[in-house]
């Protein structure tokens, strides 16, 4: 009986939220997806894929094996357009639950088409966030549904956040566990350093601090990184049961990805869509309400401001990024560097505030 009630508490009470907080997260997530997380590298990439003969079609084991060659260009174009339209609808909150599901399914299908080259990128969470959050009623506030009278129930569900934490924790474990088997904890070899050299020379990932790291021949430093990586990744799963610990792990994850980006030039931006979910959006919402309450009609001001700023800031960042003015010889994009660095800045601010005891609800 006690076990059952703690299980219930874990599912339903691990995370708190408000319709306003979830509404703001939905807008930011939709903008993030729209500008930065649509699978693939755009039209040229899709034209390339659809031009490849069946000889080079190597779908991973799974439903894609039902196909006998690359889908036509129209397949990629329709899915990309579907994601764009549904992300816009998600941002504005039109038929939120339905478009959340459509967005998630379209992202997964497009990923499948891309991964048929014979290499799976581990970005399934991009699709899972809208698919699962569809059941949180994240369109209850700051949505066209709300203003159009489509929202009859303003109550939100937070179990989708717990479910996403379970998926993330488990997936992190699957990154850490093979490393133990592969010998990462053997003090005689330094795996992180080996992978740096691999990325540096095989994939040409030589931007940011990669060259400086390459010159670092201190086995103790690299061995500490090996151990820290394994402990952090496997520990994520055990933190799932304690939301406070999980949020700490999510904060450490941001630092982990930042260092991975600086040294290995791998940003892994999709994960940040999930980490962002564990920010205190209710506090952000309350702060906005206080700011906008002076002018009256705060709700609509927040809706317009958050939607407008999300589109404007992400749009400008994306535009600057694709100009290719910096990081020319790297597959790392400027927006990845800016967003991951910004996420680290947010984490540092949260930790600082936590220790100053100004906001006890951070972790």
């Amino acid at each position: 009986m006690k076990q059952s009630s703690s299980f219930n508490r874990w599912i339903f009470q691990s995370y708190s939220g408000t319709p306003g907080g979830l509404g703001i997260f939905r807008i930011v997530f939709a903008g993030f997806l729209l500008f930065f997380l649509i699978p693939g590298n755009g039209t040229a990439h899709f034209e390339f894929l659809s031009s490849m003969p069946a000889d080079y079609f190597n779908p991973p084991p799974g439903p894609l094996r039902l196909l006998d060659g690359y889908p036509p260009l129209l397949f990629y174009r329709i899915l990309r357009l579907t994601i764009i339209l549904s992300a816009v609808a998600l941002l504005l909150g039109f038929f939120t639950k339905k478009v959340s599901i459509i967005t998630g399914v379209a992202v997964l299908l497009l990923q499948g088409g891309i991964f048929s080259v014979g290499k799976v990128n581990h970005e399934i969470l991009i699709g899972m966030v809208p698919l699962i959050m569809a059941f949180s009623n994240w369109g209850a506030a700051y949505s066209a549904d709300q203003y159009g009278g489509q929202v009859s129930d303003r109550s939100i569900e937070t179990w989708p956040i717990t479910l996403l934490s379970l998926l993330l924790g488990f997936m992190m474990f699957t990154a850490g566990f093979p490393k133990i088997l592969g010998g990462w904890l053997d003090p005689a070899t330094q795996a992180t350093q080996g992978h740096l050299i691999n990325q540096y020379f095989e994939n040409g990932r030589q931007a940011l601090l990669a060259s400086a790291a390459l010159k670092t021949d201190t086995p103790l430093f690299w061995e500490l990184l090996d151990w820290a990586t394994v402990i952090f990744e496997t520990g994520f799963l055990f933190a799932v049961w304690k939301p406070r610990f999980f949020k700490m792990f999510a904060a450490v994850a941001v630092l982990f990805h930042f260092s991975t980006m600086m040294i290995l030039n791998i940003a892994f931006l999709p994960n940040f869509a999930v980490y962002a979910l564990f920010l205190n959006w209710s506090a952000i919402h309350n702060g906005m309400k206080r700011f906008f309450s002076k002018g009256g009609n705060a709700e609509k001001y927040i809706y317009v401001t958050v939607s407008g700023l999300t589109v404007l800031l992400f749009g400008i960042l994306k535009w600057i990024s694709i100009q290719d003015m910096v990081l020319r010889n790297s597959d790392l994009m400027l927006h990845e560097v800016v967003l991951v660095s910004f996420a680290l800045f947010i984490v540092i601010v949260i930790i600082f505030r936590h220790f100053l005891n100004r906001n006890k609800t951070v972790f």
Binding site: H45, S51, A54, N58, P61, K119, T174, T189, H195, E202
Partner: protein
Amino acid sequence: MAKNRVKKLFIVVMIFLPLQYMVVGIVGFLDAEPWPAFVFPGFKSVPVFEGAFETEQKVFKLVPVSNQEGVISQTPAEVFPEMPVSQLSGFMRQNFSDGRDFISISNEGKKWLLNRAQGSAGVEIRVISLRTLKEYRRFEDGSMILDSTAIIQEQVIIGGE
């Protein structure tokens, strides 16, 4: 969603996740990593060989039709610039691995590759071969040096008869 259904969903997911991880391990060992799956990349291997850091390079060797031009070397990234770097090594491993019997590539597949190579080299090509190299690096006097290079394999994909 009713609380009982949510609880059942969680129980199903908690049973499903380790089971699918087992399947991923087995299928991945026998064939290739399946998709979709709830796993992140493991980067399991430790690319260190007898104290040296080992990297593998694949290079296309292109012989132009004109005898006046020498053999042209092109990296996979140059021949397939549209392919994201994150997928390129997997694509090369699947399609141009050492064990692959290039004879089985259809005429259409060979023509496509020839077009890609010619587009990348900017000249007409009559022979395409693939060289696989292993490079070994180590530290000496505080800097990394290329210790040795070994050609693992060189296979003709197109032409050469």
